[in-house]
Amino acid sequence: MELLCCEVDPVRRAVPDANLLYDDRVLQNLLTIEERYLPQCSYFKCVQKDIQPYMRRMVATWMLEVCEEQKCEEEVFPLAMNYLDRFLAGVPTPKTHLQLLGAVCMFLASKLKETIPLTAEKLCIYTDNSIKPQELLEWELVVLGKLKWNLAAVTPHDFIEHILRKLPQPSEKLSLIRKHAQTFIALCATDFKFAMYPPSMIATGSVGAAICGLQQDEDVSSLTGDALVDLLAKITNTDVDCLKACQEQIEVVLLNSLQQFRQDQGDGSKSEDELDQASTPTDVRDIDL
């Protein structure tokens, strides 16, 4: 016992499950059920009076920062955004409640996906103590009720492994492609444009954008251009033109966020240290379109 090492990552991960990842029925089932978990409407037009699209972006950016700082699993943030969008599609909400809702959604997503979930206390500190843990717990029930307890939503991350294993990429390139695709998925979740897209399309577009982006620096793929898009579209039964449009939108969002990033850097509002802590922007910097 004296030799117990405390530096080990306390999070234990299961090995990849061949029964889940190498069976096409799983992919087919995901494709069948994914639409059930999409928000019911474009809520800025038909439900919300107080909340504007830029406010969703603000709360999404904050949620992403919290998830990154707390080193949450990758799917926690997109899943939390799915809960938020589904709630807002049904309940008119004043903007002063928006951050509380964001915290509640992270709380739920973290509990569903992580072995060591975020605590209510910690999330309240991240709101600068503008809400109390008790309020977070009470609103947790409200959100659960409105989501009808359907928390196991399909996210783009569920498709990544299924897509990657069908690509003819050398396996040593896959981890880089996966990492970039995950960054794109997070980026998509911050942008309302993608909220109504099926997760499989976002996943497919993100993998496509990742390969195209990486291709410019090094040879990561034997397939490029139309051949790549055709193969990707076939894997997830996505329409080729929709997929191309989606991939282009992802690239535009990336460009915008890179510009935003350079502006922030120019302002000197972020120190280099801070930037290096955040894994996602670091990845984004590596991509050259």
Binding site: V59, E65, E69, T96, Q99, L100, E135, G145
Partner: protein, 161 residues
């Protein structure tokens, strides 16, 4: 057994992510809105299941509720004192039945102790109704309420795909 904690992931001092986004939050308004939304959920559940979850009494409607005695339930499902094992016991604890909200039609089997009428059974394709395989079988799941189970009287035609 020591729970592994997320202490390694403490909030860095002066973290930029600690901020309020939309100004001061009105606790009073939060409380009012929370109560109103919860009341809506309760009402929805009441209509959906013709059961008053606050007083735990059956109402007139599609479901026939019957009191069940001595099911041999695991203690976990019985109303008890403060549930310290679940999140520190600070949570307000309404009726466990309330927490079910309004389950969707296809979740019926999961949330009710009920007897399904034979012709409402969903048969898996390829096994067309071998008599006696599942008809009249009681499916027990006891979180809906601790003291009642229901018989399903009517067939709902509004099943979602």
């Amino acid at each position: 057994m020591a729970e592994p904690s997320r202490d390694a992931q403490q909030i860095p001092r002066g973290s930029k992510a600690c901020r309020r986004l939309f100004g001061p939050v009105d606790s009073e308004q939060l409380r009012r809105d929370c109560d109103a939304l919860m009341a809506g959920c309760v009402q929805e559940a009441r209509e959906r299941w013709n059961f008053d979850f606050v007083t735990e009494t059956p109402l007139e409607g599609d479901f026939a509720w019957e009191r069940v005695w001595g099911l041999g339930l695991p203690k976990l499902y019985l109303p008890a004192g403060p549930r310290d094992d679940l999140g520190g016991g600070k949570r307000p604890s309404p009726s466990p039945a309330l927490l079910q909200g309004t389950a969707q039609e296809d979740h019926l089997d999961l949330s009710l102790t009920c007897t399904l009428m034979p012709h409402t059974l969903e048969r898996p394709e390829g096994s067309p109704g071998a008599p006696g395989t599942s008809q009249g079988r009681k499916r027990r799941q006891t979180s809906m309420t601790d003291f009642y189970h229901s018989k399903r009287r009517l067939i709902f035609s509004k099943r979602k795909p």
